[in-house]
Symmetry: C2
Subunit: 676 residues, 2 copies
């Protein structure tokens, strides 16, 4: 590219004023010197050598225990190149959303806009993170220099590898105070629960924006069950009717959410993501030509993953589920057993369930790591697939932990009042505990860390005063690293320090899980405790604010990730919706009210009545499922148009290659061509 060198010049000039930080990378203090040199070299190296072609700066280091802190930036032209590679969707001068390409920069920069108007800081952070994560080992890199045991295979993504081995401790983008303040203002106090989803997406990326969009949609949809629940509270005999309406409503809501989600994904340009997209950094395989793009990237046959999933992971997860089930049974048995020996109303009787709760928490945490490991081993190609299969495993396991005890109480113990009190306790206590855990815990942590940071700063000031001595120390700690250094008074240093000490926002799993559990508590037994929807609604209105506050203020800024839907959660909620038909019918069948209403009916006949009711509702569900299309009409049309335009372009391109139009036709049919 002829223009690249021209722009490099511009960047050379810029480098003297130190470019902005997009991502901060922290490296363990005791890393081997050669490993550090190699890493830094890789980040700066040419793309053709597997490098990142990024700009790297570092902070001064005051002690040997302090981590190395690198600030990663990129030249403007590099950012534009990655933006093209990632097919970022941007609005062009005509107001049309389409994939950005460098060659059409003019089209995307109308009037006197600059590339800072085109790419938001969040965009830039995403682009740089993508580039960092895709720095790959060349065929000469057999292992990380200085660590012969950390073996690399050809083309392995080295940054996630170094993270796995603990050489790199943290990678995170920095917050933008200005933008964050603006976002928070319109977010904490949303009008009528409408959140600024587009702004959230611009700041935090698609994954998080989609979570908040789902939370909002789900919360709004709870209004109907709340009304039904309140009516059911007043007119108790109408509960079965409301309950039937409820389960139909759940189906409808989930189908409509799919449409909403597809609309968002279309606008965000992520709707076309497939399992054949660019592989995730952790994807292992031999290098080969990609069947879709023709680019060289790791290749691994899909059936290997499928075999691993069904022959190994599935049985293992099933066994774990059975074990978790037995753990639950044992807790019930011990409780039963204890009832004979201790006062059934005393506090001693609560020991088994408290122990069980603690065990579940511990086991869940272990299982989470295990599921991640298992899914990593299955070797899924894309991040979305990886997430989907990881979440599926976790949801299956959590289903046993969270809901099976309710099933046991309802259908084995047949103790409806215990079920009701259990639902009440869990909904009110667990949600309260969650708010506490989500907001107050990190607040305390941050307070603790920020005081620690203050100490560090003081230390820095002191060493700065020490002058001569410090300079020598710095020289020692940067062996052979010929990279620019941030001045001591650069505000980015303390920002990187502060935010680095904040708790990490792992992923949206916990947030979704919370909703999932709540969803189960509200709908699985809505006939027993119809007012549950009200508690859920109140909780969620608070939840939106708590989650928003948490992610804006309490956590380190998460790296933006592109997704096209809520992944495995859609199906998880759908399955729960389907189950709720059966559980509600089952609970209604067991309730004594039914027998009072139908005194002459035989037991079998009543049972058949509820079977028919359940099957009818499942039929309605199926009908809604096939009757409501996944994408709104406008999305379907827009996608079809894009598809059509692309195909036309392909035809055109091909026809351009053949200049001798119809020449062959004429020679075959012997017609003398007349010139016009």
């Amino acid at each position: 590219m002829g223009y690249a060198s021209a722009v490099e010049l511009a960047d050379d000039e810029e480098q003297t004023q130190l470019p902005p930080t997009y991502v901060v990378v922290k490296v363990v203090p005791d890393i081997h010197e050669r490993a550090l040199q190699w890493l830094v070299g890789k980040i700066r190296a040419k793309k053709s050598d597997g490098g990142g072609e990024l700009v790297i700066m570092m902070e001064e280091k005051y002690s040997s225990e302090q981590e190395y802190t690198f600030h990663i930036s990129a030249t403007k032209i590099k950012l534009l190149e990655i933006a093209e590679e990632l097919e970022l969707i941007k609005r062009d001068a005509h107001g049309k959303l389409r994939e950005f390409t460098v060659a059409q920069l003019d089209d995307f920069l109308p009037n006197d806009k600059t590339i800072d108007d085109l790419l938001t800081l969040s965009d830039k952070q995403t682009l740089v993170t993508h580039e960092l994560e895709n720095i790959r080992a060349s065929s000469d890199d057999k292992f990380i220099p200085g660590y012969p045991l950390f073996k690399l295979y050809d083309n392995q993504a080295i940054i996630p590898f170094a993270q796995n081995w603990g050489l790199i401790t943290k990678i995170y983008p920095l917050h933008e105070e200005e933008a964050l303040k603006k976002l928070a203002g319109s977010w904490y106090m949303p009008r009528f629960m409408r959140q600024p989803i587009e702004d959230i997406r611009n700041y935090f990326g698609e994954t998080i924006a989609l979570y908040f969009a789902f939370l909002e949609y789900y919360t709004l949809s709870l209004v109907v069950p709340v009304i039904l629940g309140l009516l059911g509270y007043v007119f108790t005999e109408t509960v079965p009717f409301f309950c039937a309406f409820n389960v139909v409503w759940v189906t409808l809501f989930l189908e409509l959410w799919k449409r909403k989600s597809n609309s968002l994904a279309y606008n965000w340009g992520t709707i076309g993501m497939t399992s054949l997209d660019e592989p995730r950094p952790g994807f292992r395989g031999v290098m080969g030509v990609d069947a879709v793009t023709g680019k060289v990237c790791p290749q691994s046959p899909r059936f290997m993953t499928t075999l691993k999933m069904y022959l190994v992971s599935l049985p293992i997860v099933a066994v774990c589920m059975v074990l978790a089930f037995y753990l639950m049974l044992i807790s019930f048995w011990v409780e039963e057993y204890m009832k004979e020996y201790v006062d059934p109303d005393g506090w001693l009787i609560m020991i088994p369930s408290v122990v069980y709760s603690l065990l579940v928490t511990i086991v869940s945490a272990y299982f989470r790591d295990f599921a991640t490991y298992l899914t990593e081993w299955e070797n899924h190609r894309t991040q979305s697939q990886f997430e989907r299969h990881r979440v599926t495993k976790l949801v299956l396991f959590e289903f046993v932990n969270q809901f099976l005890s309710l099933f046991y109480i309802a259908f084995i113990m047949k103790d409806i009042s215990m079920l009701r009190s259990q639902l009440k306790t869990m909904l009110i206590i667990s949600q309260g505990a969650n708010h506490f855990q989500e907001v107050f815990m990190p607040l305390t942590m941050n307070y603790y860390y920020s005081s620690k940071t203050e100490k560090l700063k003081q230390k820095a000031r002191r060493s700065s005063e020490a002058g001569q001595a410090q300079e020598k120390a710095v020289e020692r700690s940067f062996p052979l690293l010929n990279i620019p250094q941030l001045p001591v008074d650069d505000p980015r240093i303390s920002q990187a320090e502060n935010e680095g000490n904040m708790e990490e926002y792992q992923d949206t799993f916990d947030d979704y899980l919370e909703l999932y559990i709540q969803f189960g508590y509200v709908f699985l037994f809505s006939s027993v405790y119809p007012i549950a929807a009200l508690w859920a609604l109140i909780n969620n209105v608070l939840e939106i604010r708590a989650d928003a506050y948490k992610i804006c203020k309490l956590y380190r800024r998460p790296t933006a990730r592109r997704v096209k839907d809520i992944g495995a959660w859609q199906r998880s909620f759908e399955v729960l919706g389907g189950l709720s038909i059966m559980t509600n019918c089952g609970v209604l069948y067991l309730s004594p009210d039914v027998r009072m209403l139908l005194p002459d009916w035989s037991e079998v006949r009543i049972l058949l009545l509820f079977i028919c009711l359940a099957q009818f509702l499942l039929g309605v569900r199926y009908f809604l499922h096939i009757g409501i299309s996944d994408k709104p009409e406008w999305v379907r049309v827009a996608l079809a148009r894009k598809n059509y335009e692309s195909r036309q372009a392909l035809k055109f391109e091909r026809s351009q290659r053949n200049k001798k139009i119809l020449y062959r036709f004429r020679t075959i049919h012997g017609t003398p061509a007349r010139r016009h």
Copy 2:
């Protein structure tokens, strides 16, 4: 297009030797002279005037009662143009399947191939039929000339309109004896049931090829239930186990068929068909710019169709279903009532069921027309949508007629032996009757007609001898039609006559319905009559041959139609598969054997056992449904590649439009561009 006139010249030369007939059009003898002229003019008129740009020839007419017979042909360049418009998928010189375009003719005609190698006769017939069906009324055409009552709206497809009003009696392509003989040879006696699906598709088009592919796949898949059935026949106590296996097998088969069907559709280039494709000729709407292609074509909002479907058609069909249900009930009641008065083993007792069968046949025939009318009124955009919604209505209605009596016998009368004998009778008798109706009836009809044709030929010979007189008669019968005339001895005349008299192959509905009914009889109550699968297998092995013979020899050649799947049938079979889980569990629950095996169990407990069994099997079914992807991996990769290539082409095309690459970038950032 500059080359068009050059090729037209070639065609002018060809016309003196009369081009081949692709489609035959028959017009009523007493059509108004002006209407005839108008129709002929339209067929020959320019595309921009709504015409077909086709070549038309006619046969001599010997009497005023004889229909007008037109032979439609097209110039080579016209055929190529339509082939491009319809995006025919052809193998290029590199062996790659892709959309044909005229501009790349060279790529598709390697070495010294001609366009006859590129386009099969079947292709040409499809192309000409498409063009015929898309001849449209211009804004001047307010009605068909001579028929002021046959009002036309702007851009209406006039050929289907004239067919609806009975002015055009038949439109059909001609058989190719050579190709048909070759096809039939490899088809009637397939090795191990493998049919020459590709050849069938080339000759009869995708719709029919897909039917035979499905028939083959289904027949092969019956082998498993046959083995299970035979085992169940020997070891009667294993029936429940086999039955459970059976229903899982059905799900598996239907999921795998979807993959198979998608593979075929990919190879045939129909996999990309959507509901936003070019509208079917019968689609009504105001002319407007299409949101996808930008071409002008009729536009009608989709929600109008949806409203009509759910608010009008659905309730009407539901009422019809209820009426059909009552018809069945009445037949049962009358039979019950008669038992008291007549000998229960005599023939009189059969009267109600015979009357019922007759009534069902009559009512079904009426309902079929009604459903077609209703679906036409709903105004679906594409032929596939139209077919899907038409078939859905018919299947719902036939479901009541065919299966509800079985449900009644099984679950209301609880008469398992009657159910078994009913299944036996229907499977053996109805299938025998079908073979008779399908093969022998048309054979007789053809014999009758061919003797009639012989008479016509004799007449022709006589009039030919008459010479002078005949010439005058001919002149009188072609008023003002200045089109070429086929010579009396042209073999196409008698071929057109013969094939015109053959019975018309309506569509694949009857063939699929037959399989659907059989499928229901085999699987819905496989626990009652497990040997049913064997009869079905034997029947289907014969059916393949009978259907092949029928379509090759007994019917007029059907117009090839493009489809991407078996449409509504896939879902219809799936629903039946799902129902079969419940019916089999229900029948097993009712059987006395279960009570003998579990003597200590209460009625409720046994019922619960079978509910759990049914729910478990439904769960397995759901798991298979989500676990097996609809498209094989290679199809997904191939589609993704094509999509990727297209998007790249679009990017490239757009970047070509912007020549001043990065000029703006440089001006903004003030870097002096260095020239290389």
